[in-house]
Symmetry: C2
Subunit: 461 residues, 2 copies
């Protein structure tokens, strides 16, 4: 078992770099393809080509299939020449083969596809968008006629399964037109008499998807119904392939990363943090930061509008960061909650009015809480230091009132924004903390100075 994978992998890498590859080839038999993929991508180009050519075909093929897109397995494929590349691709499950071939240029793709026997299957998968069920599915399924016997189904597994049995969870029963009629868990075939008909032991699929469905929805269905594999059918119910849980786990992980990074106010990186080139990293981050900065410039305009008030009562400027950050914080809290509830399917577009009413009430209460703390801070601090002048009580009331307004407004904006983004067809996760804060800051200033001009008129202003 992989106790300390990093150490083991370093050792393997050293072995792969020896002139005599035998010790490496001995060890590699007991290494999982995911680990081997890491070793391969850590090697120098020339060593890698040599290692891939020396590895048993099925081992090299599984390692390439397990590689992440960011490690560019297609480049490694090309380095070994089109014939051997085709042999490697042919060994892979069709979904991995299609993912890999999709990264090649049209000419390279043709050179590889020309050599493989399941070309039609791979080409069919290439038609679907990468983030659809079709892009995730493999055509490698075991299917039997529903009027076959259990014994015949077992024979079908022997003949049709061209992959590792550990990924074979179920057999699909189809009718004469190839339409999916039912599912038989592999374990049930074992415990049933071989003479029984598949039709009599099969069950209805709990979930089935069409190739156009979004991969996130597939992931949600599989998680909800605890199924290790789902069949993919076309509009006429004909069986096209299947998607297994391991593809879905990768999707969930990638989507989560994308959401979280959007949420932190940046574009998703397409590779592990330490592997992204510096210039690329800066570009990915500068875009959003600059956009937020341009938005935030409106605060300077808003402040200029109140320049006269600030000149009269400098004390007002002291609380500007406190007031606007409270709006931003309460807004980002609200948007996080709503974004996550949407992602989990707890809240849908039609719930917007319920959510907004609820957030309005929450915002008022939270504003009262922060306002009260602010009021106490100013009055108590003044009692000790006297720095807020003779009208400190009015200043305290200004801060109190502004906080109620700003926090309520922040909370409402934060909760409404994900709904608006989704309604317009954008990803609600773009309602990031920095984005909400930027939206709220300008209004926060306006609220603050407006409350101040009412309360302080005739005294400080």
């Amino acid at each position: 078992m992989p106790e300390a994978p990093d150490l083991r992998l370093d050792e393997l890498k050293d072995l792969a770099e020896q002139d005599d590859l035998h010790p490496f080839l001995q060890r590699v038999r007991h290494v999982h393809p995911s680990d081997l993929a890491d070793v391969l991508s850590a090697l120098e180009e020339s060593t890698r080509v040599r290692v891939i050519s020396e590895l048993p075909l099925d081992v090299a093929s599984s390692a390439l299939a397990e590689m992440e897109a960011a490690e560019h397995p297609e480049a490694m494929l090309l380095a070994v020449g089109p014939e051997y590349a085709a042999e490697l691709v042919e060994e892979m499950p069709t979904d991995d083969a299609a993912d890999l071939v999709a990264e090649l240029s049209p000419g390279q793709r043709e050179a590889v596809l020309a050599e493989i026997s399941d070309r039609a299957d791979v080409e069919r998968l290439l038609k679907y968008p990468e983030d659809s069920a079709g892009g995730l599915m493999t055509a490698n399924v075991v299917k039997v006629r529903e009027d076959a016997t259990v014994g015949e189904a077992i024979e079908a597994i022997r003949q049709q399964s061209d992959e590792d049995e550990s990924q074979l969870y179920q057999v699909y029963a189809v009718d004469a037109q190839g339409q999916l009629r039912g599912i038989v868990p592999v374990a049930r075939l074992i415990v049933t008499s071989p003479a029984r008909l598949v039709r009599d032991v099969m069950e209805q699929p709990v979930v089935q998807v069409q190739p156009e469905q979004d991969q996130e929805e597939v992931a949600r269905l599989m998680a909800r119904y605890n199924v290790a594999a789902v069949p993919v059918v076309d509009a006429n119910g004909r069986l096209l392939g299947r998607i297994t849980f391991d593809d879905v786990i990768d999707v969930v992980e990638a989507e989560t990363t994308e959401d979280l990074l959007k949420f932190g106010g940046m574009e998703a990186l397409d590779a592990p943090y330490l592997k992204v080139a510096f210039g690329r990293m800066v570009r990915k981050r500068a875009g959003w930061l600059a956009a937020l900065f341009l938005g935030e410039m409106l605060t300077a305009t808003a402040m200029a509008f109140f320049e006269e008030e600030i000149a009269k009562a400098v004390i007002l400027a002291l609380f500007v960061p406190l007031i606007i950050s409270s709006g931003g914080n309460s807004g980002s809290q609200a948007s996080t909650l709503v974004i996550r509830a949407m992602a989990l399917g707890e809240v849908t577009l039609r719930d917007w009015w319920r959510v907004i009413r609820r957030e309005f009430a929450t915002g008022v209460v939270l504003g009262l809480v922060l306002g009260a703390i602010g009021f106490l801070r100013i009055t108590l601090w003044h009692a000790v230091t006297g720095i807020y002048g003779e009208h400190y009580l009015l200043v305290a009331f200004t801060v109190f009132g502004s906080l109620i307004g700003v926090v309520t407004f922040g909370t409402m904006t934060g909760s409404l924004l994900p709904f608006i983004l989704r309604r317009l067809g954008f990803d609600p996760a773009s309602a990031s903390a920095p984005f909400v804060a930027t939206l709220v800051d300008v209004t926060g200033l306006v609220i603050y100075f407006s409350v101040a001009s009412v309360i302080l008129r005739g005294t400080l202003l």
Copy 2:
């Protein structure tokens, strides 16, 4: 297949509320336990007790097992009385049974456990923390001796498997001491001659875990090695149970939610958004907001320190929100990146120095970019409106220089904070956007006014 689950569920709920339950009981046979769980939790207490008592035992039991903790299945269990409750619990896989029983008071727990036959199994699971591998595992495994034949292994599946075959992916081979020796995928049993020995067809487990291991680590291993189930063994290698991918998907989802909400600056809710009571929701949110507010109060103190400068040059106050928000935004970007890279295992504690050097360089470049935009904004705006006075160029340089300092400082703080939190044993995801922004705001003000006092000395100040 569940095309529009919401509509279907509403309809089922209506049926469950009829006096004549027959139509409901007819329909319910074709409903997935996860869907039935939703229907049950939407019912009134009294209707629910009646429905649970009328449902076939195995159907009611699976629905309760599928229910989320926040829906309080243990309360539903108690409502039907201890004898029937025990029957329901006995039908469940031991991991679900243990999760449910764990929620009962000691007295209630004893009443239920006294009635069930696999009490020992359930009690063993109750010993492990909920977030450990032991808390996720079920003791329901099919095991055979490694010196048994494939035919005997198939017989063992018939006899030992007391659950749905669709969740049975592999059979475990053990030696005389119960130590795990290998794994046989169920599909391999089918395609192998019954006379062969299990020892000769089994494979080494790619992953095995111990009950004390953290559930997040289990999830990461299963995702990496694409296994639908992992065996759990004790320190001596004895097989204790197994964890299946569906338990792990739930873990990943819950952990992601927790991370995201922390990240938005609040505690995780323990129930779906719309189901959390208003008072509870406010309390969950007020705590963090108030803490951030107290931290942010330091900005008022810092501003008071520079009150004289502001009085002399009110123009300085105009750019305060712009400057400090840039620090906060760049900081939250950096912390998001590092938190996510840590969660994915791309970055570990020992990488801190590499990350910090990288972030320092990134911060300087991002600061230059924002500074340049800020400089242009002020000079161009002044050319049009003339509002920034005769020293506008010095003001522009002040903003330029401050932005470089503030953005670099924000980026460094944001990237360092997750490392510090993890080193101190806290969750790095607590380095939320609002938390980072609060930390950065005070320093941002100090940087800004310090740069201003150097550049503007003798002119505006």
